[in-house]
Subunit: 436 residues, 4 copies
């Protein structure tokens, strides 16, 4: 739960170094200004309705500070990418490097190889020195040029590594687990009294970071998912009682499923983790599908991978290397159950199943994400150079913010079943509010 | 200048008809709520910095109201698209129709042909009745299925037409001029005491509507412009001292040029209407280009069509059918001037000129714009059914709002030379802040 | 085996009706000519090498004939699409309709619903009358607007249906099974002495029709598969010993796998049905993959769905509704076996599996396929109007031909392990010629 | 005019070096074979029609030879790209390098900078040594990584340069002028008795090389042009009497215009250099356009840049650096003339003009072109290693061939107004055969 207290950002210490950025200290001279450390972004922008939220909570505003904590000439920065890939990783790496190198004049910028593993000497994966040549065209490629991996490494091992390599700034691009790890590293460094800034950039293909309107890559993923939905529509349309069934990413949040549904406008049933659904019974999914086919002779269903997990409640729980719960495969399950149910009910059906899996997350960033990534990368550098630590860069109400890591990972963002997006999905699909 | 007074929305009268939408009146039951008429969206979200803006200005929040002004069974609605096309027009038409038809149960929805001309009987262009069949796939096409045209028609002629056809709701999708026209129609109807709701949806490929963060179509246009920039980069890279020069839309605002620059990251010089530039002299564009070519042997320049108009200050002013000032062609001018200047200075140069013109605005909406369009269309319907008039739907701080037309057209939005976007452009291109 | 005898085309009878097409009877007047019925296309274009093929076999050349068998004013044509969908089906339907309707003046053109099922009255799926309005934009969509289905219907039932509906021309768009069905219908009609022309257009996403260089849709499918390979490359590149494994369509022929490999140039191992491979052993796939990862730390593998079926030789054989053998899932199998083998050998590996399934075949036709489809559709109409039957339209040496159905289905085309394409795949991947 | 005599290829001398390629000398062992030097590809595949062409002309078949002229260990190869860019240039460079480097073991492969200029020491543009690292991802970019330029250099200067650098093989990728230059270099080298192989790869965005079915890049260009046509259709459709007018590349040949027309199917008038047209008069273009608009209210016109040049016959002729005739701008001319004619005739019209210029040629190769490029690059290497010179690689009847340069440049390929493609254009557009 957000409070005025838990939005406060940790600073490594006083800022004495004048910023080399040629920004202005005053408004109106045609030159962008430095951002004051007291500038804030309001958490809550709506009011006056029937369900008002508490009014006066603010985030620290992101941006270049006039005074720095780190002297660029004596600073070494490192960038690490962790967890699953996401459109725009290379853009973030590139913009962070360019900002450090060209604008701040930090000449030592290291790329950590293969996630946190590359911060553990045991792995034998030494960092690479980033150069303009190396990053020139990386934003045109999906994935991360640094490599990534799942799973944590001991915080004290990482801090030892940073000390040994003389790294003052660590930019961590990753999700939940990565940010918790970054928090541990920042805490360990502070405990040792080391002037090391650890700044996170939230990365999740599921767009499920709390207090961040939109994480980078999500729009690209929705666009790719939409293309798959187009294919599913063509398949469904071409068969008698054809059903195009598409599983998309979304472990705990249905943003990709919902966004692709809205963009496509060809989806008839959208299933997300936030809204449980029954399969059988007169108000269940299958009966609704049967009725829809009766009229239209084809239908498209999109299901987020984390949807309907209660349908598997008797199965044992498995976890992956990052400790994420492995989900039972709702896509394959639905495909089989639909076929079986319609057979039992003597209604012909032709289910075509699509599992694009990694396809939708391995694309290069589209225009909108590319612009967002550029900002995330540069804002992280501004924060780190100003000596901020144990924080992530946020994006809220159209502005970039600073968030304590602990706040960002306190909860996962979910699609609100009473909110704008889900309301639009219901309107666009015409599906019932609940399958019960 | 925005004030608490000029954000007030006009209502046709008391709302007595219960909405047929099955929304909830209270929070927490898993069903989206109706939006209270007192709900507001804060204009200003930042504070505490060195240049605080006035605090307490609010917009009315958009959304479905619990009570309606119009009885759906007795309502006829009409949709008109005016001015130049823009990605997403068909999406807006489609979603507005679907919301009216399926959710509110308004059975008479007319499509006005070819802009305001179709509201003047003299033009002989009768409206078409919109149907589900007709709109089914239109969102996959660029342009407007209704047709469009430039220029106004007399307000009283239009009101006569609405009366004669029994039209209670007029949704006007268009830019500046269109919205002024809509304002005249609303005013004339009010003067006559007619219960006609006129609701605008702002449409501009230039993204230059004040108090609207993002108009639909702009991201698609930036994506298309980026593809052209990719081509310009390939051409420039393939020639000795190759210069890829691209002119993009943007009469008074450089949003497309700036956005495509940020997405592409291959642009070296970005020229927009908001930032004047000198061509000659030691700090002029040409000298900067010469220096850049000396190191890199190729460069990419993007110029918004409205940039550098002061360079033509001696030419006579021409206007188009909508009364927009016709711009002198900065693209062709630059191409010729660069060639001439380099020839004079004995430096070889190979300029490849790209003028994608309408190409970037005639595409279908991409995923992000499609989602935005769906919202704009449905929010306009909610407003109109509630009897709001003389207003446009806005998008501000991530939420949809109601704006008086007079406020929306009071000024054009410009790229802020001191703001976030332009700052990013300078960082991404490395170009000097000013060419003087 | 092709012989001069089995290339002979069946004609329904003498041609007495002058063609309404305004073509020329002679060369050089700037107007395209009618094609003489004696015009031939050479089967074999190469000679003089060490392995000469028999020289003098020819196909009948496709094209408009000067005299027709059918009187357009009295003709009813029907179009049917069968089996799995393929990019370009709608283009073929559309061009065939346009050629019949506008150029020949055949006013009754029916679209048969859902494949051969729509030719059996029991299915209760009456044909639709095709119109210009209906086909206007269908070429922009994947799939078939007529619907499709698998499986045959009795030839005599179909002929009864054709007689009852007064259908003189049946254009069958489909694969192997469909063409055999068309052959039965043509034979039954001939047996009854009915003047009905049955003309096939070969459709297979696998490009495996003998004596047809390229079937429509294959290039689009390769392009889509290539996009998936790009994603696999990004995933593989982003992980330590990352392996991107992609299964693509190709039951008996590896054309999609090979084509996407050549276009992508990022594939390290391409596995096709035509070239068996061993997994284990010092020259097996796994050892080669291990060696490759040792140097490169990531690899991409593409496997056609029909590849390596001998690895499952102990499993029971299943068949689908068209009688096609169901293949055991080589993709999932490889994914599991790679993981297991590397685990046994204590080498870390991170396999990301992609199964785009129907995605690559459900796209609209790209430019090249669209052009091909236009030709196939029109050439089929020319043949049918001239009274040719029991034939398919072929494409050979850059020209369109007529092939007896019996010849076209006598064998399936395979990728030649000694041929041009596979040689290029070996050169592009650098993989060993054999995994033994 | 092609004769048996002028298809003969020049060989530098006897081949004594065994090829390192592990191909087979016999058929049927599952391994691709070397191509015998006596293998031929038939020029003419059609016969038996009313306008038979001479029968027995053959091209030499391309492919790897069993014996080489050059010893790979002692060979230095160079690659040069000249003239305007074209999709696939980097693919050709990359595949030629990979074939030389990995398959033949030629360790010295140079990239010549900026066309023939880089072969003249005066330009001060030394070659770069190509490496695997350098070429790894170049096929994903448009343009040429080597740079290009227009215009010739003296043959003896180039031969001096080749001798000085020890270059034995020169691969020239370029158009007409480039190939003439390559012919001069080959001739000069032969005159001096130097064992230098000069092999050309035909490059022209216009697809106008005689005896080559399809040059690389043309399908990509058609696809890009088609996208622009889609935009023009959207613009035209959205205006009353809207006319989308698109100018595409095609100086002397209308292949891009025709191909994009066939793929788009939305074009109403296609104008190419090969078919003259009158504007005025009852059978002129304008009257046809007026009639078409009367029914449809919108139209799309595509015009190749070289079309209708006779309309400018009184203007003086200009030439570019390569000696190509500069064309008067038919696009702008048509735009103005249409506006003027309709104004004179009191018919409203709204012309939207598109000039995508370089956009359509600066894209990376699509799938189909990528496959073709891979072949062209490798076949050129095979020819050169075998000591063939003064030739270009051709593509004919689906097979790769060797063509004497003199034959390839003897004439330009044109769209045949009586041929398959133009016939399809007439059928697809419904336009009259002639505007007279």
């Amino acid at each position: 739960m957000i409070t005025p207290e838990n939005t406060v950002i940790t600073n490594l210490g006083p800022r004495n170094i004048p910023s080399p950025l040629r920004l202005s200290a005053r408004c109106g001279d045609g030159v962008a200004q430095f951002v004051s450390d007291t500038a804030r972004v309001r958490y809550q922008v709506e009011c006056g309705g029937d369900n008002d939220l508490p009014g006066d909570i603010f985030f620290e505003k992101a941006g270049a500070r006039e005074k720095l904590f780190f002297d660029p000439a004596k600073t070494t920065a490192a960038i690490v990418t962790c967890g699953g890939i996401c459109p725009g990783l290379n853009n973030v790496i590139r913009s962070a490097f360019l900002e450090l190198h060209f604008n701040y004049g930090v000449k030592n910028v290291l790329g950590i190889r293969y996630g946190y593993a590359g911060l553990n000497p045991k792995a034998g994966l030494p960092p690479v020195k980033l150069t303009q040549e190396l990053v020139r065209e990386i934003h045109e490629d999906g994935g991360t040029v640094l490599g990534s991996s799942r799973g944590p490494q001991p915080a004290d091992t990482i801090v030892d590594f940073l000390v040994e390599r003389g790294i003052n700034i660590l930019l961590c691009i990753g999700g939940d687990g990565t940010l918790r790890g970054a928090c541990d590293v920042a805490t360990e460094a502070q405990k040792r009294g080391l002037p090391i800034a650890v700044v996170g950039i939230p990365k999740t293909i599921d767009n499920d970071v709390m207090y961040v309107t939109r994480t980078f890559g999500i729009v690209t993923a929705m666009e790719k998912a939409r293309h798959v939905l187009d294919g599913a529509h063509s398949e469904a349309h071409s068969a008698f009682n054809g059903v195009g069934l598409v599983k998309v990413m979304g472990r705990d949040a249905g943003f990709i499923a919902a966004g692709a549904t809205l963009a496509s406008q060809d989806v008839n049933f959208c299933l997300v983790p936030e809204v449980p659904f029954a399969l059988e019974g007169p108000n269940g999914l299958f009966e609704a599908l049967r009725r829809y086919l009766e009229n239209s002779r084809h239908a498209v269903i999109v299901v987020a991978e984390g949807a309907g997990q209660d349908l598997f409640k008797d199965l044992p729980v498995e976890k992956d290397a990052s400790g994420n719960k492995r989900h039972a495969d709702i896509g394959v399950f639905l495909k089989e159950q639909i076929a079986a149910w319609f057979k039992r009910n003597n209604v012909p059906v032709d289910v075509k199943y699509f599992d694009p899996s990694y396809y939708i997350r391995s694309a290069p960033a589209n225009c909108d994400d590319a612009i967002l990534c550029d900002q995330f990368g540069r804002k992280a550098v501004h924060a780190a150079m100003a000596g901020k630590t144990n924080m992530v860069v946020g994006f809220w109400n159209g502005t970039f913010t600073h968030l304590p890591i602990s706040l960002a990972v306190s909860q996962k963002k979910r699609l609100d079943p009473e909110g704008l997006i889900w309301g639009s999905v219901l309107a666009a699909t015409g599906q019932p509010r609940r399958f019960v």
